[in-house]
Symmetry: C2
């Protein structure tokens, strides 16, 4: 009888490690392979910014897993599918330049549906200055599949990876955390409520006053503004990644890859008040949502303690902790000073 | 009421045209966008072959549409998923260098299954000297999704597109045509036969003597050897693409993009005798299979009439026709000299 190991026992990162272990890079042009927000290739862009390296990242979005078309408009989906890739390039301190789009489409979708999806893709490309250069469009048996690969550029000295955090570095996050997750909870609650109400013939409950939560879930933006602000302020992060699977999980990646520990302060976490109010109403712990809710697409970065003065004036950047020695572990300091080990519950697609 | 246009009324290429129409390229690094085997980007690889451009291509493979795991071993699938992308890069007269792999995996699959899939991916990367540099691995609701993007390099003067065919150019194909399609017919026939036999408890019918047909379907190779042979012979094709959707459809693409016509000779089409024998047995027209069967991953190219003498000594390259003025149309010349318009039945995934 064959052995059978369930994928969820390894998790996404354990699985990737197992599958790619021991692979030797053969091309001189491969600088960084699997294991960061994007791969780094030694292809040089001719640009007014000087000699540039090429970055590559890829994301797969599957209907029923990553999105529910009952409440996600196709235009928003197209936009988001692009932005999550741009976010990975910014997280390397790069600039996204080109995408390819692979689409698997079931017969449920019409040409007009795809016009909608593409209007979102076009809008994202327009806004972020990215070119759509290729793709593959085919029929699918079930639902919609979107596979986007994004190329970008960065000069060699600008590139920020996950492995450069040093003891005493400051830990910063941008925007607010857990908001996209609360937006999803709201959409899910209304979806279920609407099913009941449609049977009763009554009205659809409005999202009034909560548009921001929906926007964070349905139409996230990549933090190009932060990358530009950091550059202008002369801050070069020592490590950086985007927060797509929740802060806990991402911070633990940086700590593992940099071989350091961290102290994260619960009371420093930036939380949106609408998100907090909804969490209260839904009986959820907003700190847990901020630590483990996915899809915020904010940036998490570490920088040298000496950059503190430069950090303070920056809009929408929050100091949430500091890097420690590896022996200290990855610790969350609660409101009363209690020390709790961080847990990477994350948004593990294999457990849901 | 909303208008609804079915995707099959446009077909894959009509759809892509509609979706990408009027998109303006914003990046100076974008040289060629949508519409060829691969996009061409102005990123320069440092190489002993001199200044190189970067090529990008992407392919989506969906279970139930592109492959049936009842008879496709996962290792072969991984190998093929890579090779079909390499083939697109060779079809630009380039060299594949890096891939990213996006995988959507349902809970039906075990870690051991993915080990198998990856052993094929590793083998293909090893054989073709390509690095796996990134990916995205996530759960799926239904079956297996494989999204591969491949980068490659070519010097600017080497790149061959689809739009350079000129009147009187020779039309050449490599290998043989329709064989992968006959391999698929054989596998499908045996699958159906096996279902019946398993109910009867009798034995599985063997594929003896037909291994080549199966290999062409299950483990195709990209024609790196031809690209090298052409270079060595000093032949620079005027137009080229790989034959993934059938010769008719591909040749019509070259004619449309080059604004020319063609005369293709039925009796010149390279056909494998095993494939012909099986077609006879299954009551299929082997010429139709050669013209419209997909997945051969051979090369179709045109070259200057002056290259004729250099072409003759090349192994596995067959002269099948010549390019004409556009007014002549795209014509198949039958065995008895009759002229028939080529039809791009192709392998249109939206009609099946």
């Amino acid at each position: 009888m064959n052995n059978r190991t369930e994928i969820k026992t390894l998790g996404e990162f354990g699985l990737i490690k197992r599958l790619t272990e021991g692979m030797k890079m053969k091309q001189a042009s491969t600088v960084v392979g699997v294991g960061d927000d994007a791969a780094v290739l030694n292809y040089h862009a001719v640009s007014d910014k000087g000699d540039q390296r090429t970055l590559v990242t890829t994301d797969l979005l599957l209907e029923g897993v990553h999105f529910n078309l009952e409440y996600v408009p196709l235009k928003h989906l197209g936009y988001k599918a692009c932005v999550v890739n741009f976010s990975d390039i910014y997280a390397m301190n790069g600039t996204p330049t080109q995408i390819t789009v692979g689409l698997g489409i079931s017969s449920r979708f019409s040409v007009e549906d795809l016009d909608e999806l593409y209007s979102g893709i076009r809008l994202a490309c327009e806004k972020y200055g990215v070119d759509l250069v290729g793709g593959d469009t085919c029929a699918s048996m079930n639902g919609l599949t979107i596979a986007i690969t994004c190329l970008g550029t960065a000069s060699e000295q600008d590139i920020v990876r996950r492995n450069g955090a040093k003891v005493n570095d400051l830990i910063c996050v941008t925007g607010n955390l857990g908001t996209a997750y609360m937006g999803l909870q709201l959409l899910e609650r209304e979806r279920i409520a609407m099913q009941g109400k449609m049977q009763n013939g009554s009205e659809i409950k409005a999202f009034e006053g909560r548009e921001y939560l929906l926007e964070r879930q349905l139409k996230p933006e990549a933090r190009r503004d932060i990358i530009e602000a950091l550059r202008k302020a002369g801050i070069h992060p020592t490590a950086m990644m985007d927060i797509s699977d929740g802060l806990s999980s991402e911070l633990m990646h940086i700590c593992t890859q940099s071989n350091v520990g961290c102290a994260l302060y619960e009371d420093k976490l930036p939380i949106d008040y609408e998100a907090a109010a909804l969490a209260e109403e839904m009986n959820l712990n907003i700190v847990t949502c901020a630590l483990n809710g996915g899809e915020d697409y904010e940036l998490l970065f570490t920088c040298d303690l000496e950059d503190y003065e430069k950090l303070v004036p920056l809009d929408d950047v929050y100091l949430v902790g500091h890097i420690t020695k590896a022996e200290y572990g990855t610790i969350l300091i609660g409101r009363n000073g209690e020390e709790l080990p961080l847990r990477a519950q994350g948004w593990n697609a294999f457990n849901s």
